[in-house]
Symmetry: C2
Subunit: 144 residues, 2 copies
DNA sequence: TATAACTAGGATAAAAAGGTCTTTATATCA
DNA sequence: TGATATAAAGACCTTTTTATCCTAGTTATA
């Protein structure tokens, strides 16, 4: 469904969000340990998310990654996916055809449209605040 | 969503199904031309589908690929996806975690479950017969 | 000023995608 | 019947993309 980078990116961001809820910054190492991801690879993904304005980074001792608390409710999963994997999953043809739309649909165009819309609405309707809160309450997990 | 192999595999199979409806076999070359796919890669995918018992092949002159007409209504998209990409898309965790289920869910487990179920039901509810018929009626296309 | 932390970039490994050539099966025709 | 042409099967190789690793930098703060 998503690339590895996107999977790590989502998990990392949720961890950063949770830490930010409690007023802490998360260091690269702490993030990689928490979500069990390769450190260097995770670094690149985080850099990308910083560039896209989704998370903030602070250098130096006591530095790390954080998200402004007030923004947590407004950041949606869809923004993370879009920043890392692009919009192919929302817009692309399910069978990989270049030109596939209502006027010249692929054999499964209509049927896929529904699934894609569901996915899109789910991603656009899920905020970091909710995910971080559930995680903090022990309802969900980031490892294994 | 799917691998290239799977996308080509689905399109190829739909073309074979349509030809079979009309009592014709489809040669590798004809298939690759029809769905605009790389010939050698398509060959491998078709071989795999033959091994999985989804399509039949006949060697030699006048040979090619075909599907028994009577089977067309029973073959579901899900079988093709499963044969080529496996069941990760049905069973795998949306965030790539090894152990993710109701007892230890990832942060998006529940929300993804619905999308995955929709996708699964769609794939399991779509038969080759229907797809081939729509294609034959000019309602859908396999190129571009 | 030392150091914890992020930044930048390339190097490497693994997987996916695609290509080439040889072998095997089978219709058709001499 | 046997030669031949045709088409899939199979083994092996190259290219491209994705994933991962590494080695220097740069920055900010204790």
């Amino acid at each position: 469904m998503f690339s590895k980078a996107c999977e790590y990116g989502i998990r990392a961001t949720i961890h950063v969000a949770r830490q930010s809820l409690e007023g802490n910054r998360a260091s690269l190492k702490a993030i990689a340990t928490e979500i069990e991801s390769p450190v260097a690879f995770t670094a690149k993904i985080l850099q990308n998310l910083v560039k896209m304005g989704i998370i903030n980074s602070v250098m130096g001792p006591t530095g790390g990654f954080e998200i402004e608390k007030e923004k947590l409710g407004n950041i949606k999963l869809s923004q993370i996916v879009d920043a890392i994997d692009g919009d192919a999953i929302y817009k692309g043809c399910g069978l990989g055809m270049k030109q596939c739309d209502a006027s010249k649909p692929c054999p499964v165009h209509d049927k896929f449209a529904k699934v894609r819309t569901d996915l899109k609405e789910m991603l656009e309707g899920t905020s970091l605040l909710g995910l971080a809160t559930e995680l903090d309450n022990g309802l969900t997990f980031l490892k294994r």
